[in-house]
């Protein structure tokens, strides 16, 4: 009987048989951190191009392209960007706290809830401010 052969039956917990790591809130926080980071990075690439139009045709093209940002679809896209930015910021802060303060490790699950709660709150408040001018006219 090798030690390796006996190991699987000893593994406790409901996820012992799975070959995929199924963490709880921390794993989802990690997945969301990656997705929001990825998306914000690609928005930054797009944003560099749209701002660079300011030096073309005396800024005419910039103004034309920029007027599109007032469109409802792009306003909703901006609310999504706000969500990604705030989530990535707050979860990043949580990661830094976990890296440097032992107390944060013990409370990491509560911290994940706080991050999510504050992100939703900021997105709803910011979202109303961003979307409202489309309906009221600015």
């Amino acid at each position: 009987m090798s030690r390796q052969g006996a190991a699987p039956s000893k593994a406790p917990g409901p996820y012992a048989r799975s070959s995929v790591y199924k963490g709880r809130s921390g794993q989802w926080a990690f997945v969301m951190h990656r997705i929001t980071g990825f998306l914000v990075f690609f928005f930054l690439l797009l944003h560099i191009v749209d701002v660079s139009l300011i030096n073309v045709h005396g800024g005419q093209t910039y103004n034309e392209v920029h007027r599109l940002y007032g469109n409802i679809l792009l306003r909703l896209f901006e609310v999504g960007l706000l969500f990604g930015l705030v989530y990535h910021s707050l979860n990043g802060l949580r990661i830094v706290m976990i890296d440097f303060f032992p107390g944060a490790v013990k409370n990491q699950r509560n911290l994940t809830s706080v991050v999510l709660g504050l992100t939703v709150l900021a997105t709803v408040i910011g979202g109303v401010i961003i979307v409202k001018p489309f309906f009221t006219g600015s």
Partner: protein, 135 residues
């Protein structure tokens, strides 16, 4: 025991009271923390100014012209550009290492990633530096 310690130089160094060796990934980790903390301030301030305090339709050429007449705002925007791209490209480098396993595909993905990032960094820097007000 001695042989096992040699297999794990980092742990062996720790037991001798020394810090583990600092390699590129250590500095990558440290950079992500420091740049991330600065970016929280830069990115959220930038988003608030262009979407919350001012409506996005107001951020036309006159708006940019007014802001970029002050060189400090150009420095602010360039810092956001540089740190954002470096933080982002390093994040995507880590994602690439995790999901793109085949060496050739990994090299190709990174070549595109680094190429696009460097090109847009140069382009963005040029935009900020060469802008002249028309207003």
């Amino acid at each position: 025991m001695a042989a096992r310690l040699q297999d794990r130089p980092a742990q062996a160094a720790n037991r001798l009271g020394r810090r583990p060796r600092q390699n590129f990934e250590t500095w990558s980790w440290f950079f992500m923390r420091v740049s991330g903390l600065i970016l929280i301030f830069l990115a959220l301030a930038h988003f608030s100014i262009t979407h919350i305090v001012n409506d996005v339709t107001k951020t036309n050429t006159a708006f940019v012209s007014h802001r970029w007449n002050n060189p400090l705002w150009r420095v602010f925007d360039w810092a956001l550009l540089a740190l954002g791209l470096m933080h982002g490209v390093n994040g995507l480098r880590l994602i690439t290492d995790d999901y793109v396993r085949a060496p050739a595909k990994r090299a190709a993905t990174k070549a595109v990633l680094y190429g696009a990032t460097f090109t847009l960094f140069a382009y963005g820097t040029l935009t900020i530096i060469t802008y002249r007000s028309y207003h």
